[in-house]
């Protein structure tokens, strides 16, 4: 398969048009052309809804039910695959092209041992016996850096760590050494350090001659290994070229916007999204409080001392989720808490909001006892605290419309069922809140379920602002958003902070985001804060090896 095959493209597609429903109508992909040579990595980058995943599936002949596909050329390893029968397609899949999906926990059958999953390609495409297959599976596992030291073949995806199972998923895709590997967001669900390892693995596969089509929403991530980048927008490739060129001299506004949205290494306060994205706030700044913006006053508004929280694992062993965490949030500043999954950062947020009781330690708000107080006493302080959650949708009562959600928040718990003057005032407050977060009035009657992710998060921010809080606690507020939407929400938070003198406790797994938003930063590892200090200082000269590793793993443009 080497000699002649290495000269032919691993995949070549010309003018690919794909749609769902009646043939010829409303294509979601509209004339996509590219090719991937052996040993080359082409990155297909776009936001959600741009058609990335449909492209990947179409190349495998798996565009989906009710889909129609038209293309001038589609060849895998030099073979025209446009008119294959179902059986011929099955023969190609796995041997000519492999697919790696996002989350290996569900992309590998959770009920089967990974060894079986990896061996499936061999079972389907070769005549190897069981013993020979097993040997080959071990070989492939070794190749992806998952030697069978812990009998990995017999484990199921749920019993492996995130990085291990992603390696196993890649092993399943390359078991037959296909000339093309399609990786659809292969690192999105992973922690940044693991992400770096998986990207290194893909790079080594590339060097060994595999052509890689890397699909991602994140330009910074693909910059690490892509030779060329194609930017997909609304079903069309708007820009395609060598990676360096696209990243440093973007030709298309879409690319420029996506690059501008990346928060890494962007100084605090710099806008990430174009001004026009949100209507300019006409409301005058809250005059009573915004008198002294910026980190001038050294008052502590939120203070945690020695927080400890224990949980019991399902198998009965105790687990220290938070182990002696202390921090101070100063008025008008942002404290960023960064950590990977399982570091205890979300538990810290819940402790700060007094949604769960600490086993030791205390949280004080505006100098007053908060975690140690009763819920009844706390209720007096709660209006000073606003919260924004990662999953905005589930934080809304599914029965309520946007207007009802905001009215509830504005009413401050008072029962205002009548149509009296208070209600008119409430409505005005709701409208000004909507305006402050850049949402149109037309959304008032909608349910959060029918809003986009960015809109939901704006409603969530509006709700948090309803009581005019001094402190905003944001737990992964932008993690599930596209990069450009994330940029808009980050800009909005920054704007609101300046207008209203808010103090932010900002929790994220994304070091780039934390770097962009924080004045002070705390790095969490296994329930402890391992390093803390002024953001500029920590990022310029990280002291703790873990912080150094984290910083080293962050994908950057222009490395």
């Amino acid at each position: 398969m080497s000699g002649a095959a290495s000269r032919t493209a691993a995949v070549r597609v010309r003018n690919l048009v794909v749609g769902f429903g009646a043939p010829g109508t409303d294509p979601v992909l509209n004339g996509v052309s590219f090719e991937v040579a052996p040993g080359e990595c082409l990155a297909l980058v776009g936001e959600s809804g741009s058609g990335k995943s449909v492209t990947a599936r179409s190349l495998l002949g798996l565009a989906g039910e009710n889909s129609w596909v038209r293309t001038d050329e589609l060849s895998l390893a030099g073979t025209d695959v446009r008119n294959l029968t179902a059986a011929q397609w099955r023969h190609r899949r796995g041997s000519d092209v492999g697919l790696v999906l996002q989350d290996a926990l569900v992309s590998l059958d959770p009920l089967r041992p990974v060894g079986r999953e990896i061996g499936d390609s061999l079972r389907l495409h070769t005549r190897l016996g069981a013993a020979a297959r097993h040997a080959r599976v071990l070989e492939v596992l070794d190749r992806v850096g998952l030697p069978d030291s812990d009998n990995a073949v017999r484990k199921r995806s749920g019993e492996l760590s995130g990085g291990q199972r992603q390696r196993a998923l890649i092993a399943a895709a390359i078991a037959l050494d296909p000339p093309l590997l399609i990786a659809d967001e292969p690192t999105t669900a992973l922690d940044v350090t693991v992400q770096a390892q998986i990207l290194d693995l893909l790079a080594s596969l590339k060097r060994a001659g595999t052509g890689i089509l890397l699909i991602s929403h994140d330009l910074a991530v693909v910059g690490r290994i892509a030779d060329r980048i194609a930017v997909l927008h609304d079903g069309r490739i708007v820009e395609q070229g060598p990676a360096n060129e696209v990243l440093t001299r973007p030709g298309h506004p879409v690319t420029r916007q996506m690059l501008a949205a990346i928060p890494v290494d962007k100084p605090r306060g710099l806008r990430l999204s174009p001004r026009t994205a949100a209507p300019v706030s006409l409301a005058p700044p809250a005059s009573d409080r915004a008198a002294a913006p910026g980190p001038v006053l050294e008052t502590t508004v939120l203070e945690a001392t020695g927080l400890v929280k224990r949980f019991t694992r399902p198998d009965g062993t105790p687990h220290l989720a938070v182990d002696g965490v202390s921090f101070r949030l100063k008025r008008g500043t942002t404290l960023g808490i960064v950590g990977e999954s399982g570091s205890g950062k979300t538990t810290t947020a819940r402790l700060a909001l007094a949604l769960t009781r600490p086993d030791a330690g205390e949280v004080r708000v505006l100098g007053q006892a908060f975690s140690a107080a009763t819920e009844k006493e706390r209720r007096r302080l709660r209006p000073h605290l606003g919260a924004v959650y990662q999953d905005a949708l589930s934080s809304f009562d599914p029965r309520l419309s946007v207007e009802q959600v905001l009215r509830d928040a504005v009413a401050g718990g008072a029962r205002r069922t009548g149509r009296g003057g208070a209600s008119v005032a409430d409505r005005a407050r709701v409208l000004s809140l909507l305006d402050a977060v850049g949402l149109a009035q037309g959304l008032l009657g909608r349910r959060p379920l029918s809003l986009s992710g960015g809109q939901r998060q704006r409603v969530s921010i509006a709700r948090a602002l309803a009581s005019d809080p001094q402190i905003l606690i944001c737990d992964e507020p932008v993690s599930s958003l596209d990069v450009t939407v994330q940029a808009q929400v980050l800009d909005l938070l920054d704007e609101l902070q300046r207008d209203r003198g808010l103090s932010l406790l900002f929790i994220s797994h994304d070091l780039g985001v934390i770097q962009h938003v924080s004045d002070q930063v705390a790095v969490m590892l296994e329930g402890r804060i391992v390093e803390t200090g002024a953001a500029a200082q920590v990022f310029a000269a990280p002291q703790h090896p873990y912080t150094q590793a984290l910083l080293g793993a962050v994908p950057r443009i222009g490395y």
């Binding site: 495998l60 023969h91 796995g94 999906l101 009920l111 089967r112 499936d120 389907l124 199921r156 198998d315």
Partner: protein, 317 residues
């Protein structure tokens, strides 16, 4: 060390399950014991043929002594528990016979009926769910419609319709359940079809969920065929919720036997139970109820085990 830990964990799980089952059984016995004491009238009179019959005080006293009815309630309760532990279900009021051997003789036929019906229901449900998720939109609507109608079919009407169709009109099968295999066909169908409707709804839902999951896309991208996708991957996921329902299903089959055995004039636990309710033969009713409860509890334990076999993720818990 891992092996020891695992072994003791398994032992702990098994013990807690058995303990839970024993507790439920004890409570069932307690509940029925005190419930039947709510029956108005004198049990001794009931034993001697109901309140209308002219019985002498001496006869009543003799019966009270024989059945322990002259003892305090709590003593009677303990005595009953003691008898239950040794497998003694007391003596029938109406049949003048020990309940345990009486019911034991009826149990086999009912169990056969229930096991066959459960198996057939599984097959029907799986077939229908598979077919309706494969053949596009029309099949989907037809499949879900069939399931809803099947689930709504009352046993007594389905049995009547089957008898009219297969026995009266076509003459293929006997209307009265005879000893042979032919006599089993209609009763089993009657019990299986409505259950298949319920199970089918569950299975189709979970089948669709499994078919949409990423691991199926991964498998297809590996070159797995549609049949392979279904048999290697999807079927295990799709059967999990239905397996967990099978304990409930088995219990409802045992109680459905009351109707089916009556209609097909088939000897069994259900028919005995119904007759006993009609003539208020308390020990027989209590005995039958306890036996059904035991069957339900055993089946629940079995389904629990089956789930752990199909889904290794549950073993960790």
């Amino acid at each position: 060390m891992a092996e020891v830990g695992r072994g003791s964990r398994v032992a702990r799980v098994v013990l807690s399950r058995l303990g839970g089952a024993a507790f439920v059984l004890w409570m069932v016995a307690t509940l029925t014991f005190f419930a039947v004491r709510l029956i108005p009238g004198d049990p001794a009179e009931a034993i001697l043929g109901g309140p209308g019959s002219q019985t002498s005080p001496e006869a009543l006293a003799a019966v009270r002594a024989e059945y322990g009815l002259d003892q305090p309630v709590f003593v009677q309760y303990l005595a009953q528990l003691g008898r239950l532990v040794t497998g003694d279900l007391g003596r029938s009021y109406a049949l003048n016979q020990d309940v345990a051997p009486l019911l034991a003789g009826q149990l086999g036929g009912t169990l056969l009926l229930a096991v066959l019906a459960l198996s057939l229901a599984w097959l029907l449900a799986l077939g229908l769910a598979t077919w309706s998720t494969r053949g596009g939109r029309v099949a989907w609507y037809v499949g879900s419609g069939l399931e809803i109608v099947a689930a709504a079919l009352p046993h007594f009407w389905l049995a009547t319709a089957l008898i009219v169709l297969f026995s009266v009109w076509l003459g293929w099968l006997p209307p009265i359940s005879s000893a042979g295999a032919a006599g089993l066909v209609l009763p089993v169908l009657t019990l299986a079809v409505p259950l298949a409707g319920f199970l089918g709804q569950i299975m189709r839902e979970s089948l669709l969920t499994a078919l949409e999951s990423p691991f199926v896309l991964s498998a297809r991208a590996r070159g797995e065929s549609e049949r392979g996708v279904r048999w290697v991957h999807v079927i295990r996921h799709a059967s999990l919720p239905a397996i967990s329902l099978s304990g409930w299903a088995f219990g409802s089959l045992l109680s459905g036997a009351v109707v089916v055995e009556t209609i097909f004039a088939r000897p069994g636990l259900g028919r005995t139970l119904l007759n006993a309710v009609t003539v208020r033969d308390v020990p027989v009713v209590v005995g039958a109820v306890l036996i059904v409860a035991v069957g339900y509890i055993l089946m629940t334990l079995l389904t629990d085990l089956a789930q752990r076999i199909v889904d290794p993720r549950l073993r960790a818990r």
